[in-house]
């Protein structure tokens, strides 16, 4: 703590290690808990599981999240977390975290302290879903932006579209910019999520990002389990298209046309019912 009581990146109390792994200049992947389609969380979870990673450090929540109580989701009490994982060989490191509600700079600085000082990470990747009018039947579009021209030149061949954007930055952009100031190269990967899937887990979007990451990192990722989840979800959505009105709406989106607000709401409701198994 500094004189005013504000947490600073220098605070050892912010990072709680359970053990100190030998990290070999890992690729560092950041997955946030809440984004459209749950893509960021799904990708981080999948990487942790696929690489047999173990948690080795947590970010203390005090100062970053509201601790006035806990939220309850799906009958279960939730608690915000920021947890680091690494695999046995120490070349992959994953952060699964709720985005900080306050003291964002201090939170992101603590993340980068670990990446820089403890892990000597080679590059940072953030994952985000972005709500889109693309239908679930289309290939998910992926775009990216970088904080480093060298990494951008090396990886641009894998990214179908480079982003242009001017406006308020999200947490990933802020993290990437701070990383760039420290000389840690990074990329923020964005995948389209059909708007009617943004409140659900969009496995296909997660798979699109994982496939891209596999190419960027030069690793083989076993995606069979995810393939099955994508197939199951698509099957449920295909049943939904038996309804001619839904089919018409999906076709409209496939033709690149938009839906009015009421039509969008109807589609969202239909998909909600179908994916909850109540249709």
């Amino acid at each position: 703590m500094n004189s005013s009581g504000t947490k600073t990146p220098a605070d050892d109390e912010v990072l709680r290690f359970t053990f100190r792994p030998r990290l070999q200049h890992p690729s560092f992947i950041v997955g946030w808990a809440s984004d459209p389609g749950g893509v960021s969380r799904l990708v981080a979870q999948y990487l942790v599981k696929a690489s047999n990673s173990r948690s080795f450090c947590q970010i203390e929540p005090a100062g970053f999240y509201s601790l006035s109580g806990v939220t309850v989701n799906d009958d279960v009490a939730q608690f915000p977390q920021g947890r680091f994982f690494c695999n046995e060989t120490g070349d992959v490191m994953v952060l699964q975290a709720d985005e900080p509600q306050s003291n964002k700079y201090e939170f992101l600085s603590a993340v980068l302290d670990l990446a820089e000082r403890h892990a000597h990470a080679r590059a940072l990747y953030t994952i985000n879903g972005i709500t889109s009018l693309t239908p679930h039947t289309a290939v998910r579009g992926v775009s990216a932006f970088f904080n480093d021209a060298g990494l951008w030149r090396r990886l641009r061949q894998f990214v179908p579209a480079n982003m242009d954007w001017q406006g308020p930055p999200d947490t990933s952009a802020y993290l990437l910019w701070l990383a760039g100031k420290r000389g840690l190269p990074g990329a923020s990967l964005w995948v389209e999520v059909p708007f009617y899937l943004s409140g659900h887990e969009d496995f296909q979007s997660a798979e699109a990002i994982l496939s891209l990451l596999a190419m960027m990192l030069g690793r083989d990722l076993e995606l069979r389990e995810l393939d099955q989840l994508v197939a199951d979800q698509n099957e449920k959505l295909a049943h939904l298209q038996d309804d001619p009105e839904i089919e018409e709406k999906i076709r409209t989106l496939e033709e690149g046309e938009s839906l009015d607000r009421q039509e969008q709401l109807e589609l969202i409701e239909a998909v909600d019912s179908a994916l909850k198994g109540t249709a």
């Binding site: 004189s3 005013s4 600073t8 306050s102 480079n162 982003m163 242009d164 930055p169 910019w177």
Partner: protein, 299 residues
């Protein structure tokens, strides 16, 4: 969090004048105008990281080009006859009070580094003044020894001269906090608050008339010759906006009778009495005006 200074001028007998964004941007506009009029040069800045979140990112063809933050910049102005100035223009105040305290401390570190003997902050006081009237400047020093001095500034009032205030009040935000932190360091400081009509406290535009009143006081105190005609032009434009808003309100159908009476008084330049308008009526007027401002912003 830290301060970055671009140069170390040899300032003599310096006074620091601070203005942060706030109601009517009274302080911000006053100090920005002063900076421009005296051609003050950039001295340094309080680094924004930790105080503020970034306001805008620019990404071009897949590369982050720049990240923008609200700025808190120092400027300096050296005068031939001594009495140099350090000006601080803060585009935003930290939302967190601990961080506001820390920023106040960093600003005072700069003041002490350059030997400032006096600090002025500039802000708004929300009162029942009419927008056609000349705003007075509510003046609060951080030590009793300054009271007799500030009473002589002209067009100023101290808190004990304000109806019902009985010498008491609250200066929220950094403009107030800086006074307190300065007091604890035994640095003399005075807050100058230009009056803003209560019905304009939520307006999306500045209230330059109050900034002008503040600058007039500062000009007298610091013996500065300031051409304030630009502020006068801004004031005229803002007054035209206010008249439009009041016309729009007057044509609103669902307006409580007493509120309509008060609005008519405002339209016709009658200064509201403190008595007749109740807190409830004041709240209703504010709600109606805030609604109009929201519509204007949305549109």
């Amino acid at each position: 969090m830290s301060v970055r200074l671009y140069e170390e001028p040899d300032l003599k007998n310096a006074t620091m004048i601070c203005g942060w964004a706030g109601i009517g941007n009274v302080g911000l506009v006053a100090v920005s105008t002063l900076r421009s009029l005296v051609h003050a040069t950039e001295l340094g800045e309080v680094e924004p990281y930790g105080y503020f979140e970034p306001s805008e990112v620019e990404i071009v063809d897949g590369l982050i080009e720049q990240m923008q933050f609200p700025t808190t910049r120092f400027y300096s102005h050296q005068r031939r006859d001594g009495g140099d100035l350090i000006l601080l223009v803060g585009e935003q105040q930290p939302a967190d009070e601990q961080k506001a305290y820390e920023m106040a401390s960093e600003v005072l570190d700069v003041a002490e580094r350059f030997g400032c003997r006096r600090i002025y902050t500039s802000a708004a006081s929300v009162t029942t003044i009419h927008h056609m009237s000349k705003p007075r400047v509510w003046t609060v020093p951080n030590t009793p020894a300054l009271l007799s001095e500030v009473r002589r500034y002209g067009n100023t009032v101290v808190m004990s001269e304000v109806d019902d205030a009985d010498g008491e009040g609250l200066i929220s935000g950094l403009n107030g906090l800086l006074l307190g932190v300065a007091r604890s360091r035994q640095i003399d400081a005075v807050c100058l608050m230009g009056e803003v009509p209560y019905y304009l406290q939520g307006a999306p535009w500045p209230y330059p008339k109050a900034s002008r009143s503040v600058l007039e006081v500062l000009a007298r105190v610091l013996n500065l010759q300031l051409d304030l005609s630009e502020l006068e032009e801004m004031s005229t434009k803002v007054e035209a906006n206010i008249e439009q808003i009041l016309e729009a309100l007057a044509s609103a159908k669902e307006l409580p009778r007493q509120v309509r009476v008060e609005m008519e008084k405002l339209r016709h330049g009658v200064r509201p009495e403190r008595g007749p308008i109740t807190e409830q009526e004041k709240k209703e007027i504010l709600e109606h005006i805030d609604e109009l401002f929201r519509d204007e912003n949305a549109g």
